[in-house]
């Protein structure tokens, strides 16, 4: 009997959870050499990206938020620490390590997104950001630690990952400036691309009064067009301008190079993906999960996680021939920290909008606890708890 190979491109949150879920479901087949699960991840460091908030706004040690990918994968998963240069969906093959070829039976693109300030003229030169690397995040902490007087502008460009992160940054900058005793001399402006501070109305209704209470200025419908670093001014598509002394930007994101170079995701690199089956459109043997997809849902770790669980079920079902199809329901559940040890959870599905809720200490501690549980979660041992509290992320149907 031929071996079935599942190739997972990308070992971030989604790719790691998916590989570990498959190794649980198909453990026997893997041990008997009937199935191989291969993860391609060139980085030698898996970074817990929400930790960038703590690095940038609390001065946390970056080392606490990264681990080697090899330590995170269950036994039976093969890790190839090489970059994939192209994916050929029609011929079920990929190229890696500058020319080596590998055929596959099933593919999962978990290739993520890339924060790209270079897409906006002047932005890379003028701004700091916490959506790229831990080093970049550290630079924000250093700048904020020195900042004594003037205007800090926090600005969001579209599209970007982690919708709560800009607002979290705003509140934590406010908190830090108060702790440092300089808040009176610091103006904080949040430039939002939406009509409100947060895209979901229910959450905006909680966030906006809090901003007002803390003397944070909201500039809505400000979609960045370009920056003039010498004049320290940002200009919007809507024809407005904004002066800054320190600019913290959430840059526009695009898909991964391998997606763009393989001609899969257009010039922005978002993979056309069925929002329920998570199949790459036109291919029942290929899936895309997490930030990499073009699904109109938040690009966040929780979505990558839940899509990974759903895709793992579908792939295992295809291999075992059960006839079951697993359909992602669009569940999200993202914590949003508001400073003062309070947080809300942005929860919803494709058919249910996030609802208004009071910020709470409990939710703040749940978020902090999750920072510690992340590494355990990657291995899949917390799934029964998540499902018990939050419900299943998918519906099950039979083919045909």
């Amino acid at each position: 009997m031929n071996m079935t190979r599942i190739a997972i491109v990308g070992g971030g949150t989604g790719g790691t959870i998916l590989a570990n879920a498959l190794s649980r479901k198909l453990g026997e087949e893997i041990r008997e050499g009937l199935v191989e699960v291969v993860v391609f991840e060139r980085s030698d460091s898996h970074v817990y990206q929400p930790g960038n908030i703590d690095i940038a706004f609390r001065g946390a040690d970056p080392a606490g938020f990264r681990r080697p990918p090899s330590n995170l994968l269950r036994r039976g998963v093969k890790l190839v620490q090489k970059a994939v240069s192209s994916i050929d969906l029609d011929n079920r093959a990929l190229k890696y390590n500058e020319g080596e070829k590998m055929d596959y039976d099933y593919l999962v693109a978990a290739t993520g997104s890339v924060a790209t300030p270079e897409l906006v003229p002047g932005l890379a030169e003028a701004s700091l950001n916490f959506h790229k690397t831990q080093e970049d995040s550290r630079k924000i902490w250093e700048a904020l630690s020195r900042f004594k007087r003037g205007r800090i502008v926090i600005l969001t460009a579209l599209p970007h990952k982690c919708p709560p992160s800009p607002v979290e940054a705003v509140f934590l900058v406010d908190e830090l400036m108060r702790k440092r005793g300089v808040r009176r001399d610091v103006e904080i402006v949040y430039a939002s691309p939406y009509t409100r501070a947060y895209p979901a109305h229910g959450i905006a209704d909680v966030v906006e009064p809090e901003m007002e209470n803390r003397d944070i200025t909201l500039r809505s419908l400000f979609n960045i067009d370009y920056v003039d670093p010498s004049a320290r001014k940002v200009f919007s598509l809507e024809g407005e301008e904004l002066q800054y002394d320190l600019l913290i930007a959430i840059p526009p994101h695009r898909g991964a190079d391998v997606v763009i170079n393989s001609g899969i995701g257009g010039e922005e690199g978002w993979i056309p993906t069925d929002r329920h089956t998570l199949n790459i459109k036109g291919y029942d043997d290929a899936y895309a999960i997490g930030d990499a997809t073009d699904i109109p849902i938040s690009k966040s770790g929780v979505v990558a996680h839940l899509e990974a669980i759903t895709a793992a079920e579908s792939i295992a079902s295809q291999i075992e021939g059960t006839g079951r199809v697993y359909l992602y329901n669009g569940r999200i559940n993202c914590p949003l920290e508001m400073g003062g040890k309070r947080a809300v959870f942005v929860s919803g599905t494709y058919t249910k909008q996030p609802e208004r809720q009071p910020p709470s200490l409990t939710k703040y501690f749940m978020k902090r606890l999750f920072n510690r549980l992340y590494w355990t979660m990657l291995r899949g041992s917390l799934e029964p708890i998540f499902n018990a509290y939050l419900g299943s992320p998918y519906e099950v149907k039979h083919r045909g």
Binding site: L158, P159, P163, P193, Y194, T195, P199, A200, H201, L221, N223, D225, Y226, F235, S236, L237, E238, G239, R275, P296, I297, S298, G330, I332, V346, G348, Y350, T351, Q353, P354
Partner: protein
Amino acid sequence: MRHVVDARGSFCPGPITELIKTYRKAQVGDEIELLATDPAAKSDVAAWAAKSGNEIVEMKEEQGYIRMIIRVSSKSK
């Protein structure tokens, strides 16, 4: 040129995200046809069009979704 943006089923970050992505690439004179199921899209798009100086040509309730046509009449740069 007509750009069709199907944002049906999207709540967060919402149809306006898709609209602005398309607007960024569009030329003056182009039309953007935005399909959305989120009722908030109507007021969002109206506010954005008013602020950015673009024109809403049509805003219509279809069966189960809203169809909006925006003419790109202003680009800041």
